[in-house]
Symmetry: C2
Subunit: 515 residues, 2 copies
C-alpha cells in the first residue's frame, strides 16, 4: 500500500494546534503575572504569545495542506505520526525558552542556558518524554510561566501527547487504535474499553483525578499553589523537573516528601488498574502480578539502600544537608529509590556521594522502571517478569529437553511472539544504551568525561529518569555537554519513551519502500 | 527418572585418570630437564609426580566406586559430568603449581604467587577455559615443566576436556553425544560424522594437525622448540598464556607475530569447516556465512584500530617499545584486534594506553568472539548473525505486522526455538557480566578498583580473552585482586566456556528434583 503522507501532515497539523492551545493558557498565565507586577514575565509573555500564534498558524496550514487526504491511517502512517509528533512537539515546545532568552532585557549582558536552541530542544524533549534531565544551571532564573510550561510538557508527555489528541479529537478515525498502541508503554498495552477514544478519555480522566488529589495534598502540607501544580505535573508524569535547583531537597518537610513518594509510586502503576479499581474489581488489582512485583522491587531496593546508608553514611556534600537522624536516612533512601525506579528523578539527597552498593541498586532500579501502561519509563516490570520466566524455562530445557511448560504471567499465557519480542526489546535496549555511551565518550574530550558519567547519562535519558551519576549527578546538570552529546541524549529520551521500535523502524530502508 | 550419580562418579574418575596420564608426560619432561642440569626443576618434578599419582589413585577409586552403575548417561547426568569435570579438572590442575610453590628450596624466604591455592586454581581454570588471565607477576619465575603444563591446560581445554575423553575412550556409551553437545561452543553444534566418537576423533586430529603446522612455522621463524610448543598450544586454543611476562611483545620478529596472527584466526574458525575442506567441499567453506562475517568483522576492527592508532599514537609505556613505523603500527593493530576478538589474549602492545575509540573497538570484539564450534570464546559470530536477522525482522513487524518472513542464515532456516534461545543467551550473558562487575566492585575496597577495571576484568574472563583494561590491562595481571574476586572471575571463565546454561542449570532447585 502507498504511504499516505497527506494524512500524516494533517494529523501533525492537528497536534500543533492542540499544543498551541495549551501554550495559550501559559501566555494567559504569564500575562496575569505581568499585570500583577512580575517584571520578569515581560519577555516570557511575548515569547509565549509568538509561539502560540506560530504554532496555530503552522498547524492550521498543515491541516489544510493535508485536508484532501483519504483519512485512512495505516500502520506505517501511524508510526510516522507518532515519531514525528514527538520530534515536532519538542521542536515547538523549545521555542518559548529560546525566544524568551533572546527577548530578555539583559540578554546582551548576561548569558543564559536557554540562549542556544540545542539546550532548549534538550529541555523540551526531556520535558515531553518525562526524562527530567535539565540543562539549567539555576532553575530560579526562569520566569514562572516558563517553569509552568516546563512542568506542563511533563504532564502532556506522561500519558502521551498523541493519546491526548485521540481523547479530545475524533478525527483520527481508524488510526486512533494504532497510535494509541504505539504510544502506550509496555509489552502489550490494553484498551480498557472497546472504543479506543473512550479508553483515552478514561485514562486522561484518571490522570486528571490523580493530579487534583496531589495538588490538594501538597497544598495541605504547606506548599504554595504554583509549586504544588508544577511538582504534581512532574510527579505523576514520572518527570522530575522541579521549580527549584535543589529539587525536592528544597522542601525538607517530611509530609511533603511523603506525599511525593506516594504519588511517584502511583504514577508507576498501570493506569488500567485504576480503571479496574473504579469498576470495583478489587480482586483483579490485588492479584495483579506486575503490581505485586513492582511494589516488591521498590521495597527491596529501599531496604538495600537504607542498609547501605546506615552502614556507610554519605559524606556531606555542599548543597544538601547531612541526614541527621535514622528517620531522615530512611526517608532519603526510600525517596531516592522510588524517584529513580519510577524514573521520576526528583532528588532529596546527592546520591552520587553514596556507597557503590547503593548506587548500583539505584542504577538497576533505573533500568527496571515502572509498570507497563504507567507514565514511568525504564524496561518495565512486566517485560522483566516475562524474561525471568522464559529464562527459567530455558534453564529447565537444558536438563529436561522434552518437558514443555506453557509460560504465564498471572493467568495470562505468554505466546511465542511476545516471548521473542520481549527479548529482542531487551537486546535492542542494551545496544542503544551501549551505542549511546560510546558516542558520548567519543564526542566529549577525554579529560571532560568518564565512563560513569557517560554511561549514567545514557541510562538516565534512555530510561527517562533524569539525573545520572558523576558529572551529571543529582547536584549537577547536562549544560556542560557538547551539542553532539545533547542531540544523542535527546534521541535516547525519545527512543526510551516510544520504546525503540516506533522510531528505529523509520531508519529501515524497507519502511519507505512500497510493497 | 532418577538421577544416576554413580555413572557421574565413574565418568569423573575416568577424567581424572586421563588428566593424570597427561600430567605424567609433564613429570617425564621435568625429570629429563632435571637430569640435563635444570636445578629449578627439582621441586617441579616432585610436585608433578605427586599430583600424577594422587590423580590416578583418586580417579581409579572413583571409577571403581561408580563401576556398578547402569552406564546410562541421561541429560541431567551429562550436565553434571560436564560442569563438575571442569571444576574438578581445574582443582587438580592447580595442584602442581601449589605443591611446587611449597616444595621450592627458597620457599621460606621468597614469596611466590603460587603460594596461595586460590591463585593456583585461578591460573588452572584460566588455562583450561582458555581465558589466559594470569595471576603471575613474573612468568619467568616458574620452571619450564610447569609452564608447559600451563600451556597444555589451554590445549586440553580448547577443544574440550570431555570431548577429548569421548575421543579416546568409548566408555561413555550413549552419553557421549550429550556431553559433546554440551561442551562444544555455539548455538547449534554439529556432529560432522554420524558416530559422535568419530566426530571427536576427527576434530582432535585436525587440532593436532594445526598444532604441528604452527610449531613448525614458529620454529622456521626462529623461535625455540619449547617456546614454539607453548605458544602454539596457547594460540590454537585461543588461550593466551605466554612463557614471557611481556607476552608476544618479547618476540619483536615480524614473521613470528604474523604466524601467530594467522593461527589465532584459524583457531577462531568452526572446526567443522576444516573437516569440510578435507572432504573437498570448497564451496561449502567459501559460502559459509559465519566464516565470512567473522573475517569481515576482524578486518573492520583492524581498520578501525589502525586508523585510531595513526591518528592518536599511543603514549609509550615503560614495558613496550614505541611503534616506530606505520608497518609496526598496522601489525600491532591487527595483532591486538585478532588476539582480542579470537579471545586469545596475547599482547604485543599496551592497548590500555590507546585512544578510547580503539579500546571500545577491542571491547566490542571481545564480546563478539569467534565462530561457533571453534576454540574461541565470546558470544560467537553465529549468535550475532541470528540476533541481527531477528531484530531486523522485528523492526519490519512494527510497520508491516502481517508480513512473515522466514529467517535463514545462509541456507539454514532458523526455527523459533533457536531464535528465542539465542536471545535468552544474550540476556543471560549480559546479566552474568553485570552481576560479576557489581560483585567485583563490592568485594574490592573502593580505592583499589575502578569501574573500567572491574567491568573489563569480567569481560576478559567471561569471554575467556585474558587481559582487560586499567589495572588488569595488557601489562598488568590479576594477582592483586581479593580471593573473593578471584573466585568470581574463575566462575565467569567457567560460565563463559560452558556457555552458561550447563553450569547455571545446576543451581536450579528443579534440577535436583525427581519428576
Amino acid at each position: 500500500m502507498k504511504l499516505e503522507l497527506r494524512v500524516v501532515i494533517r494529523s501533525l497539523g492537528l497536534l500543533l494546534i492542540v499544543l498551541s492551545a495549551v501554550m495559550a493558557v501559559m501566555a494567559l498565565f504569564s500575562g496575569v503575572n505581568r499585570l500583577t507586577g512580575d517584571a520578569a514575565e515581560g519577555a516570557a509573555f511575548q515569547a509565549l504569545l509568538m509561539v502560540t500564534l506560530a504554532g496555530a498558524l503552522g498547524g492550521g496550514a498543515m491541516y489544510l495542506a493535508g485536508r484532501s487526504s483519504s483519512g485512512v491511517i495505516g500502520q506505517r502512517e501511524a508510526l510516522l505520526v507518532v515519531s514525528v509528533s514527538w520530534i515536532l512537539a519538542a521542536g515547538l515546545s523549545a521555542l518559548p525558552y529560546w525566544f524568551w532568552a533572546g527577548l530578555r532585557p539583559d540578554a546582551a549582558e548576561i548569558a543564559h542556558d536557554f540562549d542556544r536552541y540545542v539546550n532548549c530542544y534538550f529541555e523540551a524533549m526531556s520535558g515531553l518524554t518525562t526524562a527530567g534531565s535539565s540543562i539549567l544551571q539555576v532553575v530560579e532564573t526562569v520566569p514562572r510561566s516558563l517553569l509552568l510550561w516546563r512542568a506542563t510538557t511533563h504532564w502532556l508527555g506522561g500519558l502521551g501527547i498523541v493519546v491526548l489528541f485521540v481523547a479530545v479529537l475524533p478525527m483520527l478515525g481508524g488510526g486512533s487504535r494504532r497510535v494509541f498502541l504505539l504510544e502506550s508503554p509496555g509489552p502489550s498495552p490494553e484498551a480498557v474499553t472497546p472504543r479506543i477514544q473512550d479508553t483515552a478519555q478514561v485514562l486522561w480522566l484518571i490522570y486528571v483525578g490523580l493530579t487534583v488529589a496531589e495538588v490538594i495534598a501538597l497544598m495541605v502540607c504547606g506548599m504554595g499553589l504554583f509549586d504544588s501544580v508544577c511538582h504534581t505535573f512532574a510527579t505523576l508524569a514520572s518527570g522530575g523537573f522541579s521549580t527549584k535547583s535543589a529539587s525536592v531537597a528544597a522542601y525538607p518537610s517530611a509530609s511533603i516528601q511523603t506525599v511525593i513518594i506516594v504519588f511517584m509510586v502511583l504514577g508507576g502503576v498501570n493506569f488500567a488498574l485504576y480503571h479496574a479499581l473504579l469498576q470495583g474489581k478489587w480482586r483483579r488489582v490485588r492479584k495483579d502480578p506486575e503490581l505485586r512485583a513492582y511494589l516488591a522491587i521498590l521495597a527491596l531496593g529501599s531496604v538495600f539502600v537504607t542498609l547501605s546508608l546506615l552502614r556507610h553514611p554519605a559524606r556531606a556534600p555542599a548543597s544538601t544537608t547531612v541526614p541527621a537522624s535514622v528517620t531522615d536516612t530512611v526517608r532519603d533512601a526510600v525517596f531516592t529509590v522510588v524517584s529513580i525506579q519510577t524514573t521520576t528523578g526528583f532528588c532529596t539527597a546527592d546520591f552520587d556521594q553514596w556507597h557503590f552498593v547503593a548506587k548500583a541498586t539505584l542504577l538497576v532500579g533505573m533500568f527496571i522502571g515502572g509498570s507497563a501502561g504507567s507514565t514511568a519509563g525504564g524496561i518495565k516490570v512486566m517485560r522483566l517478569l516475562i524474561a525471568a520466566k522464559v529464562i527459567w524455562a530455558e534453564l529447565e530445557r537444558a536438563y529436561r529437553p522434552r518437558v514443555v511448560r506453557p509460560i504465564k504471567v498471572g493467568h495470562v499465557p505468554i505466546n511465542d511472539d511476545l516471548k521473542l519480542s520481549t527479548f529482542v526489546y531487551l537486546i535492542g535496549y542494551a545496544t542503544v544504551f551501549g551505542a549511546g555511551t560510546v558516542l558520548l565518550m567519543a564526542f566529549e574530550r577525554p579529560g571532560d568525561i568518564d565512563i560513569t558519567t557517560a554511561a549514567s547519562a545514557c541510562a538516565a535519558t534512555l530510561n527517562t529518569t533524569g539525573p545520572g551519576l558523576g558529572k551529571v549527578g543529582a547536584v549537577h546538570n547536562f549544560a556542560w555537554l557538547s551539542d553532539a552529546s545533547k542531540v544523542v541524549l535527546s534521541t535516547l529520551m525519545l527512543l526510551g519513551r516510544l520504546e525503540l521500535f516506533a522510531v528505529l523502524a523509520l531508519f529501515s530502508p524497507r519502511f519507505w519502500r512500497e510493497e
